[in-house]
Amino acid sequence: MSLLSADATELGYLLAAVCFILALKGLSSPRSARRGNLIGAAGAALALAVAFLSGDLDHLVPIVVAIAVGTALAVPAARMVKMTQMPQLVALFNGVGGGAAALVALLELGETAGGTSAWEGDLAAVAFTVLVGAVSFAGSVVTFLKLQEIMTTRPVVLPGAKPLMIGGLVVSLGVAVAVFGSGQPVLASLLGLLGLVVGVMLVLPVGGADVPIVISLLNAFTGLTVAAGGFVLGNTLLLVAGTLVGASGTILTRLMAAAMGRSVAGVMFGALRGGSTAGSTAVSSRPVRSVSPEDVAILLGYARKVIVVPGYGLAVAQAQHTIRELEEMLRGRGIEVLYGIHPVAGRMPGHMNVLLAEANVPYQALKEMDEVNPEFRTTDVVLVVGANDVVNPAAKTSPGAPIYGMPILEVSDAQQVVFLKRSMRPGFAGIENELLFDPKTSLLFGDAKESLAKVLAAVKGL
């Protein structure tokens, strides 16, 4: 007694798929992005309505209650989360999506196991969905724990991790083939458990700075899982939606890896190979030019063009609003102010842009690396706040350095460079920054927010 015919159902799903494509298309400009997201949400609501009307479903009351419970969990989390904690939340949402897809595939297999109509492609899709969904779920949970600093952010390499990893993968693939061959729900459940183990082992050895790549990769995994779920259920909407996400995750993963000058394999397996993801944390005793907030205020106040290079240190110190005030003040003095944003500034792709947008920095002032690099030549003062590795010339000059090959912001092209730093400790990559000892560089030590507040006060007094 379905209320919708098969054709009407398919058309409803098609419309929802178009909504999802428009949602992504809207993101090509900040102006159309919000409307796009609402179109996507409307598409999701439509798809859900179609599912309810088309399916001849039992258990409607428990299902609706489950949806209400999920909504009650998700909305407060999404409303309350701090922008600095966005990567954790995205990792968590990503994980539960992957987990849900794996469960759906398992159940579908259990229901059709008795029948004879199972097409062989379905079984391959079931195996893929269960395995990759479980990997994505477990990997996302570990990523969440790392980002929330419930566990260490350093790479964790268990003894014998490499043979374990290889063994885990081989066994998983073997069981996946067995699922494909037999269609046994028990084997598929075993595959899911193996996937959880592989997911944990995959993310444990990844260091904190590489997390943006891992989040993107897991996002792509979940997308592909949902697409495979579409194959399992013969549902075109899941197929299209999952594939779109898979494409977005893949593109972002590649962009992030390129922005760090590393291969995706290097990020995921670098620690297993004993590569140098962790450098020294030794503090250099070489002399640097340490200046007062007043000196910085004079440098900034009489410049014509200033570029701010924010790093995660700025967000940690919650100094976004203070830098915004300083920017307003400088603009008021007729000074051109831009922000140079390195693609890996922050903890996920594009994170720094969100953090600055939260402080009402107009997005037009945010310049990405390729756009801002030619600007440094005509810049009087570069203000580097809580960033280090992304401006370290060692990425270009010392082939042995862990960050060698990473594209950097060419701040040394500017007349003057001011670093706001907590201490002389090197950045995450653990390598000394030659730029700190350059004659054109001055350093203002202290908490980024306090330092900026002092500079702001001093600029006011000019």
Binding site: G97, A100, T243
Partner: protein, 98 residues
């Protein structure tokens, strides 16, 4: 729907996905990720269909768990993306080129 038709849709979707996503502004990569995240929450449709056809209590319980997880993904993803995009839209500054 038969396998070849689904495969055709998959291949075409790959191209659409790459085409659309490669045009996304770099500034919006975080909302892209959380928005894409929300989109794969549409596995909720699958979870609802499977749960609605459950014949035994284990399937029902596991299915309801999947429904909860997928709802968290779908609803949370769209809400948090909207919250971020609101920040980008609120202050259009004159003279901006993008």
């Amino acid at each position: 729907m038969d396998g070849v038709a689904l495969l055709s849709i998959f291949v075409l979707s790959v191209f659409v996905g790459f085409e659309v996503v490669s045009k996304v502004s770099t500034i919006l990569h975080t909302p892209l990720m959380s928005g894409a995240n929300a989109i794969h929450g549409i596995i909720l449709v699958g979870a609802v269909l499977v749960t609605g056809h459950a014949d035994d209590s284990i399937t029902l319980v596991v299915g309801l768990l999947a429904v909860v997880l997928a709802t968290v993904n779908l609803v949370g993803g769209f809400v948090v993306t909207d919250r971020m995009l609101e920040m980008f839209g609120s202050r259009p500054t004159p003279g901006g080129d993008r």
